[in-house]
């Protein structure tokens, strides 16, 4: 099978020894340099640079917003708030501490959490439900499409969904999640366990419906 290009990972570019590459206006080699220049332009409040930086990272940011929002409209609100905040505070961005994408991701997540707290939607979900549906066959997970996963996650209570996203997708530790949400690491751990159980329950329920149909 021919390998398909999934995505370019420009963070791992290695400089070639070829002088032509080093010297040229090579778009790939200069990728990071260009981002630095765009950031420098944003610091001067250059609108074109801001737009270019937005276009470069908008898809990534929207994917992130969409995971934390209830719907697309809420995701767009989070995205707009996050970019306005990022451009307003871009002078505080330090390249030495990390890349821009990571910095922007943190802003997006913070914005999403702030929106949840503002709407008083974030609260820890108690153990009101007990799911004893048995185990899901591992292959089932592989067959789920991204949109299906998103729909399943959207059915989770906000507390479950946020912790699940932070831990599973963003790869935060329970300690970090606890600091971010103002809860203890053990509470984060229990929210994750319940989230997984409920997700499993939802998958089994959905499969049962499909079989019945």
């Amino acid at each position: 099978m021919t390998p398909a290009i999934q995505q370019s990972n420009n963070q791992t570019i290695k400089q070639s020894n070829n002088p032509t590459i080093q010297q040229s206006n090579n778009p790939t080699i200069n990728h990071l340099v260009q981002i630095e220049k765009l950031i420098a332009g944003c610091r001067r409040n250059d609108r074109k640079c801001q737009q270019a930086l937005y276009l470069r990272f908008a898809d990534h940011a929207m994917g992130l917003c969409y995971r934390y929002a209830r719907d697309l409209y809420e995701a767009e609100d989070i995205l707009q708030n996050a970019f306005v905040k990022a451009f307003s505070n871009i002078k505080t961005f330090d390249e030495k501490k990390g890349d821009f994408q990571g910095w922007l991701s943190r802003i997006v997540i913070n914005e999403a959490l702030q929106l949840l707290k503002k709407n008083k939607r974030f609260h820890l979900t108690g153990d009101d439900h007990s799911f004893h549906d048995g185990e899901v066959e591992p292959e089932i997970y592989g067959l789920l499409e991204a949109e299906e996963i998103h729909e399943l996650l959207a059915q989770l209570p906000d507390g479950y969904r946020i912790v699940f996203n932070l831990y599973v997708v963003e790869e935060y530790s329970h300690q970090e999640i606890g600091e971010l949400l103002g809860i203890s690491p053990s509470a984060s751990r229990s929210q994750l366990t319940r989230a997984k159980a409920m997700l499993r329950h939802l998958i089994i329920t959905q499969k049962k419906i499909e079989h019945a149909a």
Partner: protein, 470 residues
């Protein structure tokens, strides 16, 4: 599948998932909330404006402000009394009118000193008297003129001959020279050949009683001190302004800092086929005796370049691995789970660069000019400071795709030094000034690239220019 695998599968699918959404609409909303963009004004415009103001100020100073002072003040301040004459400074009319100083204070030694004393009763006559210098007669007039016998001389009060004239001084006597005497020096400096005739003519126009008695003796040759001042006046530079524009063939010199860069330099030099420049400038020129001149100002220069080169890109990408993870589904079909491995994607393409480099130059040129019957030849040379303002450009690849040239990092806002030499032919055009046309060569001395570029780049050039000076 282990729980970790489940999470991994979730993570991959979720991270790569983005819903369909309208980027442009969201950008409009973001842009509306961003602070207004501050328009950047071109810095070179301020330089140019500053240069023009400076040049204009100097020109004004040279043409209007120095007319009276350059000759008069040094004379009045520096001439010393060495004889047996009292060292009484020249007294102003206003001071006499105010009664601060009596006319008697204006004593003059010499044969006619008694005449002054005898005319103390003539106090109502207000006069301003200048000290004679080596026989030069002075006029005892209430004069507001700047020239001794010039057209602006006003004799508001008739002056008795005994007061208004002074006998020839002996050789030892000298005095502080008044502005009137200094203007005489100015006359001599400007028109020393015709001054005696003009002066005689002017004297005839005066009332008889106001004419100096010792006219013949006033036309003696100026003293050494006055001659020195005449020389000073003649040595005053004359300021002028030059405006020019031209085209040229830039001569760019590459040199690699490291051997690894030499291949790139060689390739680029071999493929560079078009390079031209345009320039325009303003110079303020000070012209001295003997045809020498000094000029400085500002020059705006644009250099266009076009070159082809082979662009090689090496990109590390993540690709699906078809052997890392797979399983058989319920119908025994092999299903792959997208795990990724890293691979290097290399591309090569031929591209063409179109770049425009912008400079603001500041020359300091020493010139020598030789006057010929119908025109003059001028040679100029000196250092030129080059302020590099970066470049803008586009790149075409072999498919015709167009994109902006990346950045200005290795050059931007660099400063370099070059040497310039040129030859101009100047020809007067009526009273409007002179038109000049010439050739100039510029040799880049220092590099415009930063150290990280790995190579040095010096800009010089050979150009032709057409200008106007006045």
């Amino acid at each position: 599948m282990q729980p970790d695998d489940t999470e991994k599968a979730f993570r991959q699918k979720m991270k790569s998932h983005t819903p369909a959404w309208d980027k442009a609409k969201n950008w409009d909303a973001i842009e509306a909330r961003l602070p207004q963009q501050r328009k950047r004004r071109p810095v070179w415009l301020f330089w140019l404006l500053g240069g023009v103001i400076l040049a204009g100020s100097l020109l004004w100073w040279a043409w209007f402000a120095t007319g009276e002072k350059t000759a008069a003040e040094p004379l009045a301040n520096t001439t010393e009394i060495t004889g047996n004459q009292s060292n009484t400074p020249t007294t102003g009319v206003d001071e006499i009118l105010a009664g601060n100083i009596s006319p008697q204070a204006e004593t003059t030694t010499g044969p006619n000193a008694s005449q002054n004393t005898a005319n103390d009763d003539a106090a109502p006559f207000v006069f301003k008297k200048t000290k004679p210098q080596n026989g030069l007669a002075t006029s005892a007039t209430k004069s507001t003129s700047r020239k001794f016998f010039g057209e602006k001389t006003q004799h508001e009060t008739p002056v008795p001959p005994s007061v208004g004239t002074t006998a020839p001084m002996d050789g030892n006597a000298s005095a502080a020279i008044s502005p009137q005497a200094a203007n005489t020096v100015q006359d001599l400096a400007d028109h020393d050949e015709t001054a005696p005739q003009r002066r005689a003519s002017d004297l005839e126009k005066l009332p008889t009683e106001a004419r100096p008695l010792d006219l013949p003796q006033t036309e003696t040759a100026p003293s050494a001190a006055i001659a020195a001042q005449i020389k000073v006046v003649k040595n005053q530079p004359r300021f002028g302004l030059e405006i020019y524009g031209g085209i040229g063939q830039p001569l760019r010199r590459f040199s690699a800092v490291s051997p690894e860069k030499q291949a790139y330099i060689s390739e680029r030099q071999g493929l560079e086929n078009v390079l031209e420049s345009i320039e325009a400038g303003v110079l303020l020129t000070a012209r001295f005796r003997g045809g020498w001149s000094l000029a400085t100002g500002l020059e705006f220069q644009k250099i266009n370049e076009r070159f082809h080169w082979q662009q090689v890109t090496a990109e590390t990408v993540n690709v699906y691995s078809d052997s890392a993870y797979f399983y058989f589904d319920a119908v025994n079909q092999r299903q792959f789970i997208g795990d990724t491995v890293q691979a290097t994607l290399t591309e090569s393409r031929r591209v063409t660069n179109f770049n425009t480099h912008t400079f603001l130059n500041m020359p300091l040129l020493v010139g020598f000019e030789k006057r010929l019957p119908h025109f003059s030849l001028r040679a100029q040379g000196g250092p030129v400071l080059q302020f590099y303002r970066g470049f803008e450009g586009v790149i075409f690849d072999e498919n015709g795709d167009l994109r902006p040239a990346a950045g200005q990092g290795i050059y931007q806002n660099k400063m370099a030094l070059s040497l310039q030499a040129g030859l101009d032919v100047c020809r007067p055009v009526g009273s409007l000034g002179e038109v000049f046309i010439g050739l100039q060569y510029r040799h880049g001395l220092t590099s415009l690239t930063i150290a990280e570029a790995g190579f040095e780049q010096r800009y010089g050039g050979l150009g032709a220019r057409l200008g106007w000076r006045f």
